[in-house]
Symmetry: D2
Amino acid sequence: MSKVWKVAVLGAAGRMGSEAVKAVNTAEDMDLVAALGSSDSLDEVVESGAEVIVDLTVPDVTEKNVRFAVEHGIHAVVGTTGWDDQKVANLRDLLTQHPQVGVLIAPNFAIGSILATEFAAKASKFFESVEVIEMHHPNKVDAPSGTAVHTAHKIAEAREEAGVGASPDATTKDEGGSRGAVVDGVHVHAVRLRGLVAHQEILLGDAGQQLVIRHDSFDRASFMPGVLLGVREVAAHPGLTHGLDGFLDLS
Amino acid sequence: MSKVWKVAVLGAAGRMGSEAVKAVNTAEDMDLVAALGSSDSLDEVVESGAEVIVDLTVPDVTEKNVRFAVEHGIHAVVGTTGWDDQKVANLRDLLTQHPQVGVLIAPNFAIGSILATEFAAKASKFFESVEVIEMHHPNKVDAPSGTAVHTAHKIAEAREEAGVGASPDATTKDEGGSRGAVVDGVHVHAVRLRGLVAHQEILLGDAGQQLVIRHDSFDRASFMPGVLLGVREVAAHPGLTHGLDGFLDLS
Amino acid sequence: MSKVWKVAVLGAAGRMGSEAVKAVNTAEDMDLVAALGSSDSLDEVVESGAEVIVDLTVPDVTEKNVRFAVEHGIHAVVGTTGWDDQKVANLRDLLTQHPQVGVLIAPNFAIGSILATEFAAKASKFFESVEVIEMHHPNKVDAPSGTAVHTAHKIAEAREEAGVGASPDATTKDEGGSRGAVVDGVHVHAVRLRGLVAHQEILLGDAGQQLVIRHDSFDRASFMPGVLLGVREVAAHPGLTHGLDGFLDLS
Amino acid sequence: MSKVWKVAVLGAAGRMGSEAVKAVNTAEDMDLVAALGSSDSLDEVVESGAEVIVDLTVPDVTEKNVRFAVEHGIHAVVGTTGWDDQKVANLRDLLTQHPQVGVLIAPNFAIGSILATEFAAKASKFFESVEVIEMHHPNKVDAPSGTAVHTAHKIAEAREEAGVGASPDATTKDEGGSRGAVVDGVHVHAVRLRGLVAHQEILLGDAGQQLVIRHDSFDRASFMPGVLLGVREVAAHPGLTHGLDGFLDLS
């Protein structure tokens, strides 16, 4: 019989948290042993016998939650933002005292999005030109998206390592700024359109050919396979892992 | 038996002109009676018995060519740029003295591109959001493309007429300029990518749905059906027509 | 002050109906005066003073509902399927006795989808090749979709009227059937993919160029602007209108 | 100073061959020492001092050419088709006697196309659904394309290895065959459209998300970077390599 993971979801009443509750309940290899809201005591996590917590709370409390889990020998899969360098450093210190515990902090649980970034970076050294277009709903306040910036970083890194120069661009006149933002030398364009959720397209061009890699997140359900993958793998990866890509076997 | 048009191509040695020579030669309802380079005399046009000239020369000489044709009762299909307001006004004057002659000045002969703009404008009043992305080869010096600016104008016009407000946009932070140029209230993005030629995509979004209209020009051959359509229709449209859309029956 | 429509939604507890209830409630120019489930009496429609019914019920009862409305001088916007030729003919008869009443029967309320079909048909006479790809969630039991078949019909009609021949195709070997279904001479391909809802893409190709028209329905909300448009326009269109395109001003 | 490769192109007058002549001439790290047509003697290859031949001839003569090269200690990059199992086996035998010589036989030199297939296969184990659409010019006689079949094979292989089941499909009615060909359990659709050259799109879907990987070959120039990469790498890969992916460093 295969392993069944005992899972506690923290932030269970939130938008992501309630999706996670559903997802864990549906997964055949998981048991939801606790679902905590903001007023519940962390002691329930221990009492429930959870082996893994899924933290989808808020920046204010995520550090306390994760440290509590680690101190009790419980693995953690963390989707909450707000982990600055200091908090991460403190967590690493704590983990050295609990070397068997694994923590995954993932800014993005959409496996397809992570793959899109990976593939784009790998391909970018073979193409003369590369640009990124991200498309989101019009209620988003920041542009370009964090994912697009991350993709541009990875592309720039891969191209520099391979000794590939900048994408060619003869533009001499662009008063309105139609060429977009330049992030690490990569042009990034942000579209805002009612009806969309979160989308990213990477265009790679060379003489006579184009490679396009596109990811669409249509709803929050798209993050759940990544959360479940995190739960299944975190115990096998003691210490701190940053980014779900560390758990994806792309060989 | 159906009409066979006698056609003279001016600028026959140029990139567009040589394509036009091929296209006219291939068309069953056309006879290429003259193909003039820059050193040939315009008298050849008259001597050849041409009924229609196709002017694909350069801004410096196109006015002289077209006026010559009109004065000799020959229709003209013009793809050369450089027709400013003054030149156009002078040509209108001349045409009043030759009321049976037709002249088409078309900045864009790609029928698909004209349709894309038309459709986008017509659709835009039914959608909350609309943005334009144009994509070209990286040797292009200006951004955004004239076609994209034209599309934005037509969209803005259609939305104003229908009383549709601006596309929603909650962006409060965009240091790099990723949101692109704003042309008549429409966001326009310009991508430059090796391997591409000339492409335009209009994205229209509303709650729960998206309409995308995209045109790709892969090579100059894409302009020839529009040139031939111009030749076939120009005699039936006396006076000056601006833009090939005037000849497209979209009912 | 502008007109406020009194609207009754029938089938209000269903998936489409409950969306319609929300949409009517949100529209500033509409008053939801009744929301009927399957056990409610049609008399409520009359008592509520409704001027328009929105019928989103089931094939078994839609005819009875609509005839009831017409007999009481109430306009009807109908999204329910099951209107065969006989039922439609009977309804036309009834409408001759109530010449001031309007009924709209629309198999598809997504305005973007209707526009996509219209544009594709209009453009298809200018392109040598045209094919249709529809993409849906994998729980759909029939292929190709009714919308794609409808699009193929309209394209075939437009091309025949314009005297355009069949799309060229040199295929001599296709054992597996990869070239798809041929509907009225138009190749139609059906993709089934988890994560998708309802999407259609029409590809039009000519020498050196391509025009792509794509519509995405991400969720049922996409149908509501069409339903509301129907409510606003149905009184101004007495008699029977088949298809929402009759109400879209595309000039 | 970096290595300059002495290269002989065989089949230099053909469509691919003449592109290769141009590409080798342009490459700074290559010297075109011979360009042979069908009537030239293979002795020229030896006399020219070529270190690598690029064979872009025809199925009838490619075996003789390559064996001649190997026997003279010259590496070979082969784009010609017609290498059946027997010919390949014979070549392997010959290569055991010349262990320092490298031969690359590549059915596809478009790096972007190879990457698209690789990425699709790698991603396919993370997605419930996957389908392939290939699009080509309408003069192509076979469907689906060899590249699409190859992609389907690689996807099927990757999914089987990872224990992923078939893509879900509830279709019970598809009289016209719109669901396409099923290759190794993967649905493959073939579009034929004037204006296109060679394009492939792989759609991967999961709850709430989609990953699309698309490759466009706009002209034969797209194959040249792959040919040049082959020339640069073949000497470092003694023995027979099948497929350019063997030379692409994707780590």
